[in-house]
Symmetry: C2
Subunit: 252 residues, 2 copies
Amino acid sequence: MVESVFNHRSIRKYKSQKIDDKALDLILRAASRASTTGNMQVYSIVVTKDEAIKEKLWEAHFKQDMVKQAPVVLTFLADFNRFNKWCEQNDAIPGYDNFLSFYTASIDALLAAQNAAIQAEDLGLGICYLGTTTYMAQKIIETLNLPKGVVPVTTLVIGYPAELPGLTDRLPMEAIIHKETYQDFEASSIEKLYYDKDHSELTKKLLEENQKETLAQIFTDNRYTKKDNVTFSKLLLEVLKRQGFMNNEMEE
Amino acid sequence: MVESVFNHRSIRKYKSQKIDDKALDLILRAASRASTTGNMQVYSIVVTKDEAIKEKLWEAHFKQDMVKQAPVVLTFLADFNRFNKWCEQNDAIPGYDNFLSFYTASIDALLAAQNAAIQAEDLGLGICYLGTTTYMAQKIIETLNLPKGVVPVTTLVIGYPAELPGLTDRLPMEAIIHKETYQDFEASSIEKLYYDKDHSELTKKLLEENQKETLAQIFTDNRYTKKDNVTFSKLLLEVLKRQGFMNNEMEE
C-alpha cells in the first residue's frame, strides 16, 4: 500500500521552512519517471522560489495565500516547444500544432504532476493543486515567459504543512466505479450516493452561511458558475490558439 | 522514496493470472484518494474484465494485444453526467457543458489514473497507458455506453507482467526543468540535451529499420504524423461537441 497516496490531504497553510535541494531533486526525478506518450516527454516543469515571481503567480492564482507561503511553486506545462525545436534541427517537420497534441501533452504533464505530489508527500511535505492554472493561463504565460507550443496545465504548491486537516470525504466507491460498461444512474441511486454529502454537518453549516437550499446550488451558484465556466472556456480556447495548438487545418 | 514511482516501466506482455478482488479494490481506492477539483469527483472508472467487451476495446485500441492479455482494463472518464444529475435533482442548474469543464474533469481523471498505476505497481502488477483512448474516443463511447457529459480520457491495462523491460531512457533533467521562469532553448542546447537519444544503439537500429536519417523523422513521419494528429484532433473535438462540452455560448 502506497502510504502517501492514502494519506493525501490538500494543504493550504505552510511553514516558512525551505525545502532542501536534495528533496526537491527527488520530487522532480519522481515526476520524470511517469509514463509519457511515445517517450516524447512533451511537458516541462517550472520551479519557482523567487519571491517576486511568486508574488506575480499569487496574483494570477486569485491571490490564494498558499502561493506566497509555500516555498516552492511547480507549474506543469504541456510543452511541444522543445520537441518541435528538436524536430526542426533534425530535418523533420513537426505536425503538433493541433488540439490532439495539446491534449497529449496535457496528459504527460498531469501524470508527472501526480508523481511529484506523491513523492513530496512521502517526504512529509504538503501539496495543493491550483485549478486556477487553466483559468488564468494567459497571465501565467506572461509571468513565466512561456513560448509558443507551451501551455500551463496545473500547478502544485509544496512546503511543510502548518495544518493537518482530516481526510476529505469521498462519495461511496459505487459512485465512481462502473462494472464492465457504464451503468447510468436512476434518480434514486443519485440520492443515495450523495445522501451523506447532502446531509453532513459541514453541508448544514454551508447552507446556512450561503443562504441556499441545497449543496448543489452552492456549486452551481457560488463555486463553479456557468458564467465563470463560459468565460474561462473562451479564454482557454483563445490561449490554445495563441500558443499554436489550434491550426486551421482542423476545421477543413 | 516511493519505490513504485522509480521502478515504473510500461508492461506490454501479461500473464493470464487474474487480479484478486482485494488487490483491485485497493487500486481503485487509491484512485479515489487523488486530488479532485472542488471535491466534485468529476470522473469515473470503468472496470472491464469481460472477454467480449475487452475484445471490442482491443479493436478500438488499434488491436494492441495487451488489451486482450491483461486481465483488467480500466477506462478513466471525464464525467459530469453524475454531477449534473445530482444538480438537477437538487434544484440547481448545472453550467458544465463547456470546454473548461471538460478539461477540469480530464484533470480529475488523470490524477486518479496515476494513483491507480502507482498502487498497482506497488502490488507487483504491471501497467500500460493507452494513448489510443483519445484517438478512438467515439468507439470507446459506444463500447462502454457512455452517456452525454462523459468522455474517455485514458486507459490503463493491468496484470501480472510477463516481461521485465529495462527502465526507459529519459532526457537529462535540464531538458524538462526550468528555474524560476521558462528558459527557452538555443540550438546548441537542444543538440546537447538530445545527444544521447540521437546517438543510442537503439536509435541506430531504428534508423536502419525505418530507412530514416534522423530519429526526429521517425516521430514526424512514422509514429506521430501531422496527418494522424489533424484527423484525431477533428474527431476528438467532434466527440466533445457530441458529448455536450462545446456549448455554443462559448462562441458568443
